[in-house]
């Protein structure tokens, strides 16, 4: 029996497992296992526990290989492809930088695993702009919290605990927060105040939030509404909410683009943003788009500062070509356009979210099980567990440092991608 190791306690640990990147966790590390002991939500506790320090070796076609050989094979595949795809991009900022560099070098398209949701926001923003705010402002100022189409906590468990149900604020006792959910079938328990005050719920069709928010905007403007219900929402309830918007000092609308599925998701975001903008004619209001899981905002920001576009950009024609429809990873794989795929998933060992006949290279956390063994698998350390790194929080302004919690022999995403780029470049010649 192995000698029991004294657990090492670490405080102020940043959790890499959702876009809130809570940085106040306590953990115990023993024998390469990380156990959350304080401030852990269910996602954090479960995800840290699953982050096994397995000594996985790289594989080529299912057979163990050296890192050098695996990267060489990956470079060979990518260098020989006509329309490669570099996607997933669930990694730290350094990994994202290396991924964009690789894509540019080999003429690939680049995208993030969570881009379907992210682009509901991106497209709305690129169309009209928006007014948003950040978590500390929410914590200190928000007196009307409208929650649109999401329960929030399934994806962002500690949002209410950290930013809404706080005791005090910079400006005196915490504002008497009014919580209003809009949507269908939402678990609204987290929106109940400590004192038990229940949130208001306006039941309506979550896939038709665009209509609901347009009606709300009309009512806020004083435009009469003929319909009695809008996407299920009673007019009277919307009219009352419009009054609350008028009376709010600092109102916010919280949404999670990942929960705004359906063909009208982007329109829903746009309608929310239009209401927010309109409300600022008389008072202060702001949008709070929740996202950033798997460092999606980090990947988008890196691609933006390096290439000028927030992902879904191809270098196949020698220059940066942005097309939010054409270069979605999902469309490229499903259509068969991508003839080689490099998929990065460093935070969690998960199954691939796609099937393709094209050769696949996975740079990911060890322990993933694949329905079909990828042509190349390179296990990498988990940012925030095996090595330090940086991620960008959901509110898009704050970046958090991730910490190394245990020793690991696994390489980082950035290191692996740089090797692959060098291997591919040696086959492509000068560019």
């Amino acid at each position: 029996m192995a000698k029991a190791e004294t657990p090492e306690r670490r405080d102020s640990v940043t959790c890499p497992y959702c876009g809130l990147y809570c940085d106040d966790l306590s953990v115990e590390v023993a024998g390469g296992r990380v156990a959350v002991t304080a401030k852990g939500c269910a996602i954090a506790t479960d995800s840290f526990a699953r982050a096994t320090a397995s000594a996985a070796a790289p594989r080529i076609a299912g057979r163990d290989a050296s890192l050098e050989a695996a990267c060489a094979r990956a470079g060979e595949i990518l260098g020989g492809a006509r329309m490669p795809l570099v996607a997933g991009l669930a990694c730290d900022l350094a990994g994202a930088k290396a991924a964009v560099s690789l894509a540019e070098r080999i003429g690939a398209a680049v995208d993030h695993a969570g881009s379907d949701a992210m682009f509901r926001n991106v497209l709305a923003m690129q169309d009209k702009g928006w007014m948003t705010t950040t978590f500390a402002e929410v914590k200190n100022r928000a007196d009307l919290v409208m929650v649109a189409g999401t329960d929030v906590v399934s994806r962002f468990p500690r949002f209410f605990e950290r930013f809404v149900w706080t005791q005090d604020s910079l400006f005196g006792p915490a504002p008497a927060r009014e919580i209003v959910y809009l949507g269908s079938g939402l678990d609204t328990k987290a929106g109940a105040a400590g004192g038990g005050r229940k949130p208001e719920v306006i039941a309506c069709d979550t896939t038709r939030l665009g209509e609901v928010f347009r009606a709300l905007r009309a009512l806020y403007r004083g435009v009469p509404l003929q319909a009695d219900r809008v996407a299920g929402a009673p007019k009277a309830a919307l009219a009352a909410l419009a009054e609350k918007i008028r009376g709010a000092r600092y109102g916010i609308v919280v949404w999670s683009a990942a929960d705004m599925e359906g063909p009208e998701g982007e329109l829903g975001v746009e309608a929310i943003c239009d209401l927010v903008t309109e409300a600022n004619e008389t008072t202060r209001f702001a949008g709070v788009p929740l996202g950033g899981n798997d460092n999606g905002l980090g990947a988008a920001q890196v691609c933006t500062w390096q290439e000028g576009f927030p992902l879904r950009t191809s270098f196949a024609h020698g220059h940066a070509e942005y097309d939010p429809h054409l270069y979605s990873w999902r469309r490229m794989i499903e259509s068969g356009d991508a003839d080689a795929v490099l998929w990065v998933s460093a935070f969690r060992a998960v199954a691939l979210p796609f099937e393709t006949a094209a050769p696949v290279i996975v740079v990911g956390a060890p322990g993933a099980s694949f329905a079909r063994e990828p042509e190349v698998f390179v296990p990498v350390g988990t940012p925030g567990v095996d090595h330090a790194g940086h991620v960008i929080r959901s509110d898009a302004v704050a970046s958090l440092p991730l910490h190394k919690l245990r020793d690991s022999d696994l390489p980082r995403v950035a290191e692996v991608l740089r090797r692959i780029e060098a291997e591919a470049a040696s086959r492509l010649g000068d560019r």
Binding site: A320, A396, L400
Partner: protein
Amino acid sequence: MLTKLSGGRVYDPAHGVDGEVRDLFVKDGRLVADPGTKPDKVFDLSGKVVMAGGLDIHSHVAGGKVNIARALLPEEHRENQRVRENGRRAGTGTATATCFLTGYRYAEMGYTAAFEPAMVPVNARQNHIEMCDIPIIDKGAYVMLGNDDYFLRLLASKADPKRIADYVAWTLHATQALAVKVVNAGGISAFKFNGRKLDLDEAGPHYRVTPRQILHTLARAVHDLGVPHPLHVHGCNLGLPGNFETTLKTMAGVEGLPLHLTHVQFHAYGAEGDRKFSSAAAQVAEAVNRNKNISMDVGQIMFGQTVTASGDTMAQHRNRRHANPNKWVCMDIECEAGCGLVPFRYRDKNFVNALQWAIGLELFLMVEDPWRIFLTTDHPNGAPFTSYPHLIRLLMDRAFRNEMLGTIHKDAARASALGAIGREYSLYEIAILTRAGPARTLGLTDRGHLGAGAAADIAVYTEYADKERMFAKPDLVFKDGELVVRDGHVVAETWGGTHVVRPEYDRAVEKDLRGYFDRYLAMRMDHFAFSEAELADQNRFRALVHGTREGGGS
């Protein structure tokens, strides 16, 4: 390795050298006195003009708001592309050029440093990681204070100035900054309370402190700490007709403390005439001339498409109706700041835009001391930095300037004194405006000049009658002694450092701050602050630490 730059006409105002033929010697990245040994390499610069590398004292090159502006405007990036070439990275955009392109373009213009003037503290880590992707040139950033609730609380509670200075110093350390910037003092905070205007002597909401108090307190703290660059001030009432009076009062309000007023063009407007918009450049320039404690940069506008990127949410929200294309972003940030992005198209046939153009040039030409005025377009707010060669020609060539004046809105041309101004800048003065002056005010003792010991950041030009042509395409540019540009094209990609200043302070301030972060903010204090080592890992971050002024230190 010893390199000799032989026989060039040297313009080195820091040493009073005005076009004299001199040899320069470079060893290990630094300028050295003639060591008397045979050089390993000689560049014959006979007939060429030699200056230190340019420094852009105020240019929004990176950080959250710049990146939001990039994301907001895919059209700007589609239209302006540079393909990958010879291992140089691809890039897009002009007003909001990508990082690699920003570094290449500055170097290709003979510039070797640019300073991001509005780094939001909570965004600082990302701002630096982003700037680490700007090749060749050195970088630096001014951290934004004066709308942050921590400072406003201290001020409202009449805290000891020493404690405020400690907090300012802590922020400089925590965010790896070079200077302190204040944007619309108190106005960004007021906007969060639904304030839409805040005058210099108006008490802001909640804290009941005035912009004047904020400016004075911060200017005092920066001065007491010995930070070389004075408080960098984006004034109140940006863009409003009649705002020159605020600008004059701002100068008077600091009671002789050093102050740098930025993009003054946007703060030199009168409210005269049929359109209630006029030039007050003469009044502002006169006050700058008289108050030796004041320095300024211009924020010249040029006609064409750009995007305004500012921390001033109050002003940017007001400007939303001018958005062209019609989309804009405003953001409240983390109980310390804000940002606003409004795309803008300046038109020469628009009265206001045309007069803005003239006002900027009037300021350049009416401010007498070239050591206290710096050449900027407030990139990208007035125009992209790539318009500097054109701007230099406007300053150096009266005939060309008047020709341009003849093409703008007729009433604006008539309303401006520009046509009557005969001044033409000399090469020596341009070297002050773009090299020696910025280095001196920022406290970069080894930049902006060509004396022994200076970093060998050197630009070599061919002099043409057309100064735009001259400055658009240097023959040679050296960065830290390495040849990086030949004939206006990058030939080597190097990586510059990041200028920072680290004044002494009493670390007791961290105790209170730690509690403040836990209680009111959304991350731990230890995660807000970051070290050089944290950024150096994976990001090429290299701090170039500059000393404080004598007598400084909290």
